[in-house]
Point group: C2
Chain length 348, copies 2
């Protein structure tokens, strides 16, 4: 079956594909002039996420330009709380803004009965991306769906937006553990349902972004990062045994190996700070590694980008591996540096 | 000699002192009403750092209230670039602001000849703290001096203040490695001179704060975190063999063990995210560990703070260890929670 031959799927099933499959976190984004042109057509960011044709177009843009081995659905991790009934706006220069969630009543009011209707545009976007990938003959490109992991989504919901230390969220986790666990549980269930819908309409891989996992001390990392991830992986594996899950517990540090072993994800994303050689020691050999070029090395380009890339390729050769960045691509990245990166990685 | 008996010095020399010596990062700060009273007397934060009597008073405040095993000189890591001739202001609600440093000429203009005069107030503050500690009979309290580690100080200097990702600094490190290395080298020399002055007038331990170490990929972590730290430790050890150095490479993650072994610091600070049990595995047994209670657990207090504290004490019992936080104490911390924390740790 043709899907089996896609390099990303082979690597995620444990094959040391070489040169490694390649995609970049936030590959559809502001660094691309064609993205900015689409963005300029709409008043706000959420319109992009809720318009299937626009989301599909943005998902395809980096594939057309760079021929990546994966397309990742254009969306945002906060679409899920929005679909559960929380207000959400994106303010230019500020980021996401939500009403802070602080009470048990607000957790109970998260409404999973409206999820199916609310995410219909995401479902439709996935269908359109699959059609476009086939129509444009991107036969080697796999489609990745995603969600924020429950802890990271809870951070934005409780805090009411981004933060340096998510103090309100983390104080709640200490002071009101039953309330915070309740929120994590609701998000875990909703995330399973949300990813199942994406898989049902055609995504071939799912990724869980846990951007803020690394701010937790170990006991809470186990309760709020590892446990929900393990539950999501188990539930999805039960229903979709062939769909790999990539976990990205950013800044997990010395707990990266434990996370990989405990959650049973097929692959873990390494952040920029992770030494690939150390990750190889602590992550079980059955788990595919993904990462981790510094996004700022791509901004710099030239000899620095080549040296960093070669360093990662050298360590990872012979291991199941997916080349990626260690964090999302940044807006000031020159697209021609990305093209050069693709050439370097494809040359192996 | 009486200094030998101080619990902090014994722990830093490799003795498993129990209950462990205890102090808290940013223990002199806004969470204390007596700090806010002093702060209200002056127009700006820098006046606190450059007024020996005020800096000494602030250093002593948490010792009087909590009887910590260490006093840490009240100052700021950006006093060093200021002493080398860079302008520095602290804006309420914004943080430090400096003119961004971007050229080789600006690196060359860093003026170490003015260092001695500029840091005279710091010197005088150290003398006053020593006198006060003796006068008030804080015989078990050791005095810690400190500096920012060169990479973290360079981050603020190049960026011109705080940042989420220090993109300008890190792009410079990739694009102009000779320029950035030159800056790190100048700061390394200046840091050695600055800490030597502090030791000459009475600090008994020095600490290097490398708050942003964890944003670097491994090769740059080695060049800009490990190498300068190793040079500072070697230079100080040569002149002051009995003065221990504590290194704090925040978010070093899987590289914490390598940092400890490579730099030859006597102790490493564990950040909040570091699992103490994992740190014990990767950090050489000859290196004292310090840390790492979550500052937000102290905000929460009660059962949560006790459980987290007990967890750390349980793992660290029998090892050379200094109890501390994993990051600085935050302004919303109730002082009575700190008092309770001291009772818990002192009960061992």
């Amino acid at each position: 079956m043709p899907g089996e031959a896609k390099p990303l799927l082979r690597a995620l099933r444990g094959e040391a594909v070489w040169p490694p499959p390649l995609w970049l976190m936030r590959q559809a984004g502001r660094y691309l002039p064609e993205y900015r042109a689409v963005r300029a057509q709409v008043a706000d960011f959420m319109t992009l996420c809720t318009s299937p044709a626009l989301a599909a177009e943005l998902t395809l843009q980096p594939i057309r330009r760079f021929g990546f081995d994966a397309a990742i659905l254009f969306s945002d991790i906060l679409v899920l709380p929005w679909a559960l009934g929380r207000e959400l706006t994106f303010r230019e220069g500020v980021g996401p803004v939500l009403p802070p969630l602080r009470t048990g009543a607000e957790v109970m009011a998260l409404d999973s009965t409206r999820l199916a209707d609310a995410i219909a545009p995401v479902e439709q976007a996935v269908r359109e991306v699959r059609l476009s990938l086939a129509r444009e003959a991107f036969d080697r490109t796999a489609l990745i769906g995603f969600a924020g992991a429950p802890f990271t989504v809870a951070c934005y919901m409780v805090e009411g937006g981004g933060s340096r230390d998510f103090a309100a969220t983390r104080t709640m986790a200490y002071r009101e553990p039953a309330l915070f666990s309740g929120l994590i549980d609701r998000l875990t269930e909703a995330t399973i349902a949300y990813l199942a819908v994406q898989i049902d309409v055609g995504v071939e891989v799912v990724m869980l972004f846990d951007t803020w996992a690394g701010i937790l001390p170990p006991a809470q990392f186990r309760s709020y990062v590892e446990r929900p991830t393990r539950e999501i992986v188990a539930a999805l594996r039960n229903r979709y045994p062939d769909v790999p899950v990539i976990g990205f517990p950013r800044l997990a540090g010395v707990l990266l190996g434990e996370y990989a072993a405990d959650t049973k994800v097929q692959a873990v994303g390494m952040d920029t700070a992770t030494a690939p050689a150390e990750a190889m020691k602590c992550v079980p050999a059955t788990v595919t590694l993904q990462g981790n070029l510094d996004p700022l090395a791509v901004v710099a380009g030239g000899a620095a980008m080549r040296a960093e890339t070669d360093g990662i390729l050298h360590v990872m050769r012979g291991r199941p591996f997916v080349f990626n960045l260690g964090h999302g691509i940044v807006p000031q990245t020159p697209p021609e540096h990305v093209a050069e990166l693709v050439r370097i990685v494809r040359a192996g």
